[in-house]
Point group: C2
């Protein structure tokens, strides 16, 4: 019910993170920023992101996540795919496992959008 999904968005030009809050956002800018914030605005997804962000190796196998956030595997898969679609995570298939990495630039861009409002 959203848009046709494209699993990976490599060529995506980093359209992210709306300008800031130093001047009124128009509807389009607000929707874009809201989309990324919505992806982050869930306790389970925040925990997933933080777990991946804190990983020594910088990446985490999807197989380890369900137990860590106490949700079923399909639920975790759903959350992960939302985070990927929002550009917060990067997914890499390696054999039969899926590995996820944090896209720090993306997250930083969102953070900047908020910080630079003051």
């Amino acid at each position: 019910m959203f848009f046709v999904n494209d699993a990976t968005v490599p060529p995506e030009p980093e359209p992210c993170c709306a300008p800031l809050l130093r001047s009124p956002l128009d509807e389009h800018q607000a929707s874009e920023l809201a989309d990324v914030l919505k992806a982050l605005a869930d306790p389970v997804r925040l925990r997933l992101v933080s777990i991946i962000a804190a990983a020594e190796s910088g990446e985490v196998c999807a197989c380890d996540l369900p137990v860590l956030v106490d949700r079923t595997q399909p639920t975790v898969s759903h959350h992960l795919s939302l985070l990927v679609r929002a550009g917060v995570l990067e997914r890499e298939q390696r054999g039969k496992w899926a590995w996820f990495r944090l896209r720090r630039e993306r997250l930083a861009a969102v953070g900047d959008a908020l910080v630079n409002s003051g």
Copy 2:
């Protein structure tokens, strides 16, 4: 509600913005951060915040907002109250008008939580 609270609960404990994403968040931290992010993760609310943030005087009368975001007065009132509850905005009643100011520290704290994850 569930857990015993600290003996002294200051009026406004500023519990905000969860730690960061440099170490895995526990459920409580994740919920707190998610609450603030949820308050921001809506296009209309982002526009309200940006309008108020951009105001010369630093504050905006609620009476001006419905037309600016193209929503009815009850809807705007609802969004504003969510933002106040989340600690993003400050409300001051002045005569029969309600004025809103941005709580920049709060917003900055959320931004930091995201930026400091990388």
